[in-house]
């Protein structure tokens, strides 16, 4: 009987340590939307989580990748379609627009002025803060290829990696919180 108990304790200990290793104090977020409001929400949650000493991993994919473009940089060796995409998509986080009430630019301009009045950080400022907090940004390589974006036209960001879905999945698996925005 005593032996059995010891065995059970050992098994439980092993199980607990496996569970502990499985989830870190980490937040994984898919940032899919290319809308100003949604990316802003994503960045507020991300920086907030960093204030909780959580490790934060953002996976930028599809329309969101355009927000990471640096307006001062250009990608080299693009074909005609890639150039067209580059022209049609917003060039950086200061160019993305509202998901609702954009109203040909009027709504977006209005919300930006209201944000300023209420001292809400702008999107470019949020990216700067995120970088200082050590938040990781992973960019989906497939999305970059689809949109024709090159790594050299992206913003200078301390922890930025181009990767695939496997990176997101392994980060998400280890995270206590997973979000899709």
């Amino acid at each position: 009987m005593e032996l059995d108990l010891q065995k059970q304790i050992d098994e439980l200990k092993a199980k607990v340590s496996r569970m502990e290793a499985g989830t870190k104090d980490q937040l994984s977020m898919v940032v899919f939307s290319g809308d100003l409001d949604k990316i802003l929400a994503a960045m507020i949650i991300a920086t907030g989580a960093a204030a909780y000493d959580m490790k934060v991993k953002l996976f930028f994919t599809f329309w969101a990748t355009a927000a990471l473009r640096d307006p001062k940089k250009n990608g080299k060796g693009k074909n005609i379609i890639e150039k067209m995409f580059g022209m049609m998509l917003p060039k950086g986080s200061s160019k993305v627009t509202l998901s609702k009430m954009h109203m040909a630019g009027m709504g977006t301009a209005m919300i930006k002025s209201i944000m300023k009045k209420h001292k809400v950080a702008s999107l470019p400022e949020m990216f700067k803060i995120a970088g200082e907090l050590g938040i990781d940004i992973n960019i989906c390589e497939m999305s970059m290829n689809l949109m024709g974006f090159k790594k050299e036209e992206m913003i200078d960001y301390p922890n930025m990696t181009v990767c695939g879905v496997a990176t997101f999945l392994s980060d998400a698996q280890e995270s206590k919180i997973q979000l899709f925005i």
Partner: protein, 83 residues
């Protein structure tokens, strides 16, 4: 702690986050807490209503002791002790 007790506290650091919106005060708190020693007292100034709910929750998670709030005319003073 009562308002009088809080007012008589000697803070080791004051973080002025007045005028900033969410997540400004929280980020300011995180930055400030890194600059004081364990057991020291930090005071956060915030004009953002939500901060009064956010900071106690953050303290609980980070194991800092939340001491209380003193209301001023146009802002709040939030007191906490670093774990």
């Amino acid at each position: 702690m009562t308002t009088e007790e809080l007012k008589s506290l000697k803070s080791n650091a004051i973080v002025d986050a007045r005028g900033t919106a969410c997540p400004g005060p929280l980020l300011a708190a995180k930055k400030g807490i890194g600059e004081i020693e364990s057991g020291e007292i930090m005071e956060i100034y915030s004009s953002d209503e939500g901060t009064k709910n956010d900071i106690p929750k953050w303290c609980q998670k980070m194991s800092h002791e939340f001491l209380g709030i003193v209301e001023e005319d146009s802002y709040s003073r939030l007191f906490l002790k670093k774990a």
